[in-house]
Symmetry: C2
């Protein structure tokens, strides 16, 4: 697409895609901006507007064919094939992330797990072996990995991020509760449950 799409639009596409996958599972073949909006608590106008940035995916009178729209969104988001991910940190959280079944079929596959604790290196989590941190750089470079997840303690997160960026990582999902400093062409997303909780307590009596 020629014009630049607002990031806030991009941020909603995965939500639409997730809802469409759910609708598929429930046996639906077709949906409408109205139905989707009601499920998601979003106005139907916004959904139509968002989708129209990428083309006309629907039909007047009938709505959207779910398999087609899913496919189109996957293409837009570039998740038709699986991206290999490097996971750094094999503690409780890293373990849980490594075992999480939810990445499959949604565009991602954890390919390598790293840690620097001597008692963890060489251990197995399901099918993969925990690799030592000194193999991090070479592994990323060699396998052209573009995405990494950080699941190390806050103190180590920035150091890990620096190595990742240096090795060519361009997208980081950071589970450590600190802000990372990275070059502007590297994207970072944060997962910090406390941030979400604090956002809700404001409204509690």
């Amino acid at each position: 697409m020629p014009t630049i799409i607002p990031d806030i639009v991009i941020s909603r596409l995965p939500i639409y895609l997730r809802a469409l996958e759910r609708l598929s599972q429930e046996g639906h073949e077709v949906t409408s901006s109205h139905e989707l909006g009601k499920r998601l608590g979003i106005s139907s106008a916004q959904i139509r507007k968002d989708l129209s940035h990428f083309g006309g995916f629907g039909k007047q009178g009938t709505g959207y064919r779910i398999p087609y729209l899913k496919d189109q969104l996957r293409q837009v988001l570039k998740v038709e094939q699986d991206w290999e991910i490097a996971l750094i940190g094999a503690g409780d959280l890293g373990n849980a992330v490594a075992r999480y079944r939810g990445f499959a079929d949604r565009g991602f596959r954890i390919a390598y797990v790293f840690d620097n604790a001597p008692d963890k290196v060489g251990a197995h989590i399901d099918d993969f072996e925990v690799l030592p941190m000194d193999r991090l750089h070479e592994t990323i470079v060699h396998n052209s990995i573009r995405i990494a997840m950080i699941a190390v303690p806050a103190e180590a997160a920035q150091i890990v991020a620096d190595i990742l960026v240096e090795a060519g990582i361009r997208a980081i999902l950071n589970y450590a509760p600190i802000n990372l400093v990275v070059p502007s062409d590297v994207r970072v997303q944060y997962i910090d449950p406390v941030i979400h909780l604090q956002r809700m307590t404001y409204y509690l009596p």
Copy 2:
């Protein structure tokens, strides 16, 4: 405060608080909207505007005293004391969440863990015992729990949410990758790593 504060402002306050905690740890006593903004990639004007909704926390010429501002933000967000949380789901993810040390000192404490798998009920995760699901309702009511975290498979999440709402839960942090339907006076926040990843792949070449 009399006027209603935009939710987008509220959503940034926990980020500010986290950054202030970090600055404290690094030994800073004072900061400015400019310094804070540079760290967070937010304009200084926005930070001043956001904070000014709740009062004048700074001093012209010198900026903000960090301990004072932290304190004020904690009060605004209602996280000066710890909220007790019920965690539902003691699988890999539930385990990792239950063991996570990051809730302490940020306003939260996991108080109860539930699961319905016979091999998990009665087991211990650190100091707490996994309770059976049929004790969920009574435990929440009895202890006036207001916040819950859902870490069960997607198929079970809505059923669990219904029980939680019925029992008086008013804020839910949902780790299951589905949209929950709840009454409008119940807040839900979602943690789905795939959503964040898909938001980043759009920008990858």
